[in-house]
């Protein structure tokens, strides 16, 4: 157990180290930051001065060391485009993304498990079949089209919900801003959360359904029925409990992709989160922001994967040998 944990942690650190190298190479080799920061009107002296302030005149290993040092402290320098510290910009944007991801994740989990149980128990029902067919279409629809469709329906045609932005936000404890406390904030959250959560919801639903059907076929369920237990007790106490282990893992792994796919949703809805920041950074080749986003999201991904792996190991001893099945897109 301990050896496994150590090996797994070492692996995670290695991944982060590789990502850090990629991030640093981006700084070192992509574009000329001086070119990006200074406008058309510039003198040689301006260029030299900026080069010195940014430390670009130092040799490669020195720059690399300084990068690692600074990155470990969460300092990624100034954004080429906004001229402000990247960490500050990221911190400002992070609450929006985390709130969106949290609500979408919750939606996907609750909706997915509920629909999964429903479609498994009423396998031959009309409603269950309709839900399964709909979910197939949902999987084939690209995320951004779902967003556009929702905007068209609920903002353009019906005019019920806002099509962009985060609504009115309230500051909490200095740096966190929340949209949960105002009506417009909550309203603005609905469409993006559905857009982002829908794909994961279909995924979880199908998983729960398959697992439920497997479990419902086992002997101990049959015995429970023979003992005369009510359907409710069997379905929820006996069957559901054994379905949830893989669901927890997949959900954990999906949390990472929710944060990544937030990029698309945030662009469709002009949601002021880190994803939109990243897309803008790519468009303007704002390397510090790109690198910082990459590091941030890697730490999240690697951390989530690590926790999920260790949890898996702890929860289900049967699956200690092979756990490649949980990997999907």
């Amino acid at each position: 157990m301990l050896a496994y944990v150590i090996r797994r942690v070492a692996q995670s650190v290695l991944v982060l180290f590789v990502v850090g190298l990629v991030a640093f190479s981006m700084f070192r080799f992509v574009g000329d930051p001086v070119d990006n920061m200074l406008g058309q009107e510039r003198t040689q002296a301006d260029i030299e001065r900026l080069r010195e302030t940014l430390g670009l005149d130092q040799p490669f290993p020195v720059q690399y060391w300084r990068f690692l040092e600074q990155a470990a402290q969460g300092n990624f320098g100034l954004s080429y485009r906004q001229g402000r510290p990247v960490a500050e910009i990221l911190m400002e944007r992070l609450p929006a993304t985390l709130e969106l991801a949290f609500v979408s994740g919750l939606l996907a989990l609750v909706g997915g498990i509920a629909l999964g149980i429903f479609t498994a128990i009423r396998r031959r029902g009309l409603a269950a079949n309709a839900i399964m067919t709909l979910s197939l279409v949902g999987v084939s629809l690209p995320t951004f089209l779902i967003g556009i469709l929702l905007i068209y329906l609920f903002s353009v045609e019906l005019g019920w919900l806002p099509s962009f932005g985060r609504g009115e936000v309230t500051g909490l404890g200095g740096w966190w801003t929340t949209g949960f406390l105002t009506q417009s904030g909550l309203k603005a959250l609905i469409l993006p959360a559905i857009t982002l959560g829908l794909y994961q919801m279909t995924l979880i639903m199908r998983l729960v359904r398959t697992e439920m059907l497997e479990v419902l076929r086992t002997d101990y369920i049959r015995f429970a029925r023979a003992r005369g237990l009510r359907d409710r007790a069997i379905n929820f106490h006996h069957a559901l409990k054994n379905t949830l282990v893989p669901v927890i893992t997949i959900t954990g792994l999906q949390l990472g992709s929710i944060i990544a796919f937030a990029i698309i949703t945030e662009t469709v809805f002009q949601w002021p989160g880190v994803g939109l920041l990243f897309i803008n950074a790519i468009q303007f080749v704002d390397i510090p922001v790109m690198a910082a986003y990459l590091m941030l999201i890697s730490v999240m991904f690697v951390g989530i994967n690590l926790i999920v792996d260790l949890l898996y190991f702890a929860i289900d001893p049967r699956l200690r040998v092979d756990r490649t099945a949980g990997r999907g897109t």
Binding site: V15, F144, Y152, A260, I282, I287, L294, F301, T329
Partner: protein, 318 residues
Amino acid sequence: MTEAGSATPPAPRPPGRLRRAWHSDFLWSFRRAPVAMVSFLVVAVLVLAALLAPLVAPHDPFDPATLNLMNGFTPPGEPNAFTGESFWLGTDDQGRDVFSTILYGMRISLFVGFSAVLLAMVLGVLLGLLAGYLGGWTETIIMRVADVQLTFPAILVAMLIFGIAKGITPPEYRDQMAIWVLILAIGLSDWVQFARVVRGATLVEKNKEYVQAARLVGRSPFAIMTRHILPNVLNPVLVIATISLALAIIAEATLSFLGVGAPPTKPSLGTLIRIGQEFMFSGEWWILFFPALTLLALALSINLLGDWLRDALNPRLR
């Protein structure tokens, strides 16, 4: 649809007896799957229309001489209020025929999709063969890299590669290079699936007798890999390639929609949807609707075709 059937190039292989039998089996299961036939028909029509865009399209949307700004925002099927011209699927803000822009846009979408999958396939199959056959350090390095890349969603990797490539290319070439950068970005983000499957299959195949025989005869490792093992691991590769094609087309559309893909001067379906989205609020729905519908039809039919292919090529399911 005899036209579409003859247009898809038949595989120029020597008609060995085995292969012929396989083909007839294959066709038999195809004839029994109406969903697959309809999907194939849709894909064939769309690919053909895209290939023959200069002949089929009523207008050349990228020739400024044929454009008339007065034709802007013509609704589909109705004559324009000023010029009296009428367009099948309407026109966009600059008076470009939406039907024609879709045909030309699909060309770019399909070109990027096919090329990206080809790149991913060649790279993945090669690395998978090497990892599976050679083992040892080669395998460790290749599969570790694959694992690390798999930690991140493909679309994120593609965005990152696009961003880096954009930074390297000088600004004046960026629009021209965008298409190639897209192919590179999507291709490199997608090789892992191929490598994993091919490695797995190679591990099984390399201990079989025919490989041992080939080794005894003294064939080089390269020849054994490409001539003996490769043909036997090709079925799953074909299935993954089909599904990857749908994913690549969607990935391209997503990137272009986000503004980090095909430029407005060379719009793909994603770029057209991005442009069309701006006019959704003012009621010009057709500029958005038809490109989106085309993308959906394309992706869905390729996906369904891939689903059927997976079942048809799986001998256990027969």
